[in-house]
């Protein structure tokens, strides 16, 4: 029995080793401590790791320009694993470390519970990519986000499908997560409102490999459009298997799918598929956009995408908030965070009282036969609902 106990203890101790990767060294009192919560492992790690790279670039930029009111930024990271409970633990960790501000948490379903902890602790959250409409509806005083609202993106997607793709019927699938469900609901509502018919609307298991069963059903429904709301892995598998099974429907998906991984999984099946996207800067040549794009490539060999740009601008927003407040105290940052304005990698950044961007640019991208993304429609400065 003793041998058993030791064996099992050692096994669990070994298995738990990666957990210690979250351990951080405490900062000096002169630092501006920035908590960054992202999915650095797990199903969304592709986004989280690249977002962290972009945020580190922004931190380097700020520190190179004198830091936050003279205080160098000290980053404390927390791996949320895209799991709400782990995200809440991260928020508690940030609160106990008395960080000055938090940037994160990428996933909407992580951000929603985590922000309650931060609100109670009096810490501002500068959201990078959490896009659920639920966050705007929470009337949070300590929250702004760089990304747009799913509800708006879903509406734009549906309007494009009806007006430009001339789709009359659609099947809408989502990954049953907060982001995907909210996005799909917005798409479905608008598609119906515009006169389209939604033949089927359901959730799929985003961890599955084989979607042939649901694609059989979709094939029998023969829709003009197959819409998917979620992330790149199920999106890539869905379109690949749909084409293998002879599903002819035009495939349209969301901005979270954008990137090389989607193209890698789907291969040639991705050609002719569409997605809503958030172009980096409105002008296409802003200083911050160029800084992000060139440094992401030179330092990390990554082609910067809109998700990275949102992450980058979230850190810049912290910097501008401190400058406006003339203080690095969390309570002072909260007082001014909704009234800042700056030209970031995502274009002109300013906010509404509910924390949403006052203006967000969107595009519709199509995958070309060369497996490249090409913007086929742009929507400039769309005012959010507030």
């Amino acid at each position: 029995m003793k041998r058993f106990s030791i064996s099992v203890f050692l096994l669990f101790a070994l298995a738990a080793l990666p957990l210690f990767a979250n351990g951080q060294k405490e900062s000096s009192s002169n630092d501006f401590v920035l908590g960054i919560g992202l999915p650095l492992t797990g199903s969304n790690a592709t986004y989280g790791v690249a977002s962290l790279d972009a945020e580190k670039l922004a931190v380097s930029y700020v520190n190179a320009h004198g830091g936050v009111l003279g205080h160098p930024i000290k980053v404390v990271t927390w791996d949320t694993k895209a799991d709400p409970a782990t995200g809440v633990a991260g928020a508690q960790n940030f609160a106990s470390r008395h960080v000055n501000a938090v940037v994160g948490f990428f996933n909407s379903d992580v951000t929603v519970p985590a922000i309650r902890i931060l609100k109670n602790a009096g810490i501002p959250l500068f959201g990078d990519n959490p896009s659920t409409p639920q966050l705007a509806g929470m009337h949070l005083t300590n929250f702004i986000r760089i990304t747009g609202d799913d509800a708006l993106e879903g509406v734009i997607q549906a309007q494009y499908a009806i007006q430009k793709l001339h789709a009359k019927t659609a099947v809408a699938l989502n990954d049953q997560e907060t982001f995907g469900e909210a996005f799909a609901q917005a798409f479905v509502n608008e598609f119906k409102k515009e006169g389209g018919t939604v033949l089927d609307y359901e959730g799929i298991d985003p961890t599955a490999n084989d979607y042939s069963a649901i694609l059989s059903k979709i094939k029998s429904l023969n829709p003009d459009l197959l819409e998917f709301s979620g992330f790149y892995q199920p999106a890539g598998l869905l379109v690949k298997q749909a084409r293998q099974m002879g599903v002819k429907a035009t495939f349209i998906t969301d901005s979270a799918v954008y990137g090389d991984k989607y193209l890698g999984i789907a291969g040639d099946a991705a050609v002719g598929s569409y997605m809503t996207n958030l172009p980096l800067g409105s002008s296409g040549s802003s200083t911050m956009e160029q800084y992000l794009a060139s440094n992401m490539m030179s330092k990390y060999n990554i082609k910067a995408d809109p998700i990275d740009a949102n992450a980058f601008d979230a850190v810049l927003a912290v910097w501008y908030a401190a400058q406006k407040a003339g203080s690095i105290a969390p309570a002072d940052l909260i007082k001014v965070m909704h009234s800042i304005s700056f030209d970031g990698a995502t274009g002109q950044v300013s906010f509404l009282p509910d924390g949403d961007r006052a203006q967000v640019d969107y595009s519709i991208d199509e995958v070309t036969p060369q497996l490249k993304y090409k913007a086929v429609e742009t929507f400039k400065e769309v005012l959010t609902a507030g």
């Binding site: 096994l11 592709t46 790791v49 490999n209 069963a213």
Partner: protein, 298 residues
């Protein structure tokens, strides 16, 4: 009417079957539900991620040979990992209660997944098979060449395993240990070696399944085994834990059941239907569809 759904179910069921076989073999022998099996499925996929491009570059223009070598190499190495799993999770605590070994196998599952996450990749990797995957039409239903390979490979491995256990001397040793370890020991069967070998065979099956699935669908992630592993375990229970043909029946039944229920109902109900049927079957046949005797029924 449901031909496409049945084909879909058979293809998915083949992957459940190979994992279920591993569960059933080890359970039939030492009454252990070896959850480490799930991580070996993942390990197989990641080994192929390395070996497929290697063999493809060594054998340009011979994609199928490269793919076969990749399956073989990954399967054998996963089998070796299975021996290591037995050495850590079973051998030191072989006289402890089964529940202790169960916990130990869970720890191995977490450990291997975490090691893949930390040392290989925390993000899903795109898998490019060394062969081109073509679409075929059979009686109006669609299936890809790699899906046929996955089904054929699963069936062939099951037959080889069955013949191995029924006709070889070592197979008889396995059956005698499964039937009565004490009598087997008296008859001169090396119990330890037999158990190690069964762990290796079970691991090999899981590893090959991981290679086939990741190449067929084009993705590998360190958590890829969790859902399919639980389905494989469910298939083993459904068919009859400890019975090789039970694993086959359970795997294909579960796959076809999921496929047809997804066609008829919103896909959120797929798992509900599958597990409701499992509960019903167990209510009337607690030992599963075919019962549970590796010793008698191989």
């Amino acid at each position: 009417m449901f031909l496409q759904e049945i084909i879909n179910g058979i293809v998915v069921g083949a992957s459940y079957t190979l994992i279920a076989l591993g569960f059933t073999l080890v359970y039939g022998l030492i009454r252990l539900i070896n959850f480490a099996q799930i991580s070996l499925y993942t390990l197989g996929a990641y080994l192929a991620l390395f070996f497929s491009p290697l063999f493809a570059s060594l054998l340009p223009g011979h994609g199928w040979i490269a793919f076969g070598l990749s399956i073989l190499t990954s399967g054998l190495l996963t089998g070796a990992a299975g021996v290591a799993v037995a050495g850590v999770a079973w051998w030191p605590i072989r006289r402890a209660p089964t529940i202790s070994m169960l916990v130990s196998s869970l720890a191995i599952l977490i450990l291997i997944e975490s090691l893949i996450e930390v040392f290989i990749s925390p993000v899903p990797e795109v898998v490019k098979p060394p062969v081109s995957d073509r679409n075929l039409t059979i009686l109006g239903s669609h299936v890809s060449t790699l899906q046929i390979v996955m089904f054929g490979g699963g069936l062939a491995l099951t037959l080889v395993l069955y013949l191995f256990i029924r006709t070889t001397r070592f197979g008889r040793a396995i059956r005698s240990v499964a039937s009565n370890p004490n009598s087997a020991a008296v008859l001169g069967v090396n119990i330890g070696a037999t158990v190690f070998a069964v762990f290796a065979i079970a691991a090999m099956l899981a590893g090959v399944s991981g290679v086939l699935v990741s190449n067929t669908y084009g993705v590998a992630s360190f958590t890829m085994g969790e859902i399919v592993g639980l389905k494989g375990f469910t298939a083993a229970v459904l068919g009859g834990m400890g019975n090789i043909w039970g694993a086959v029946v359970g795997g294909f039944t579960l796959g076809i059941l999921e496929s047809i229920s997804t066609f008829l109902l919103p896909s959120q109900w797929t798992a509900v239907v599958a597990f409701a049927v499992l509960i019903l079957v167990l209510a009337f046949r607690p030992t599963g569809i075919l019962g549970t005797r590796l010793a008698d029924r191989a």
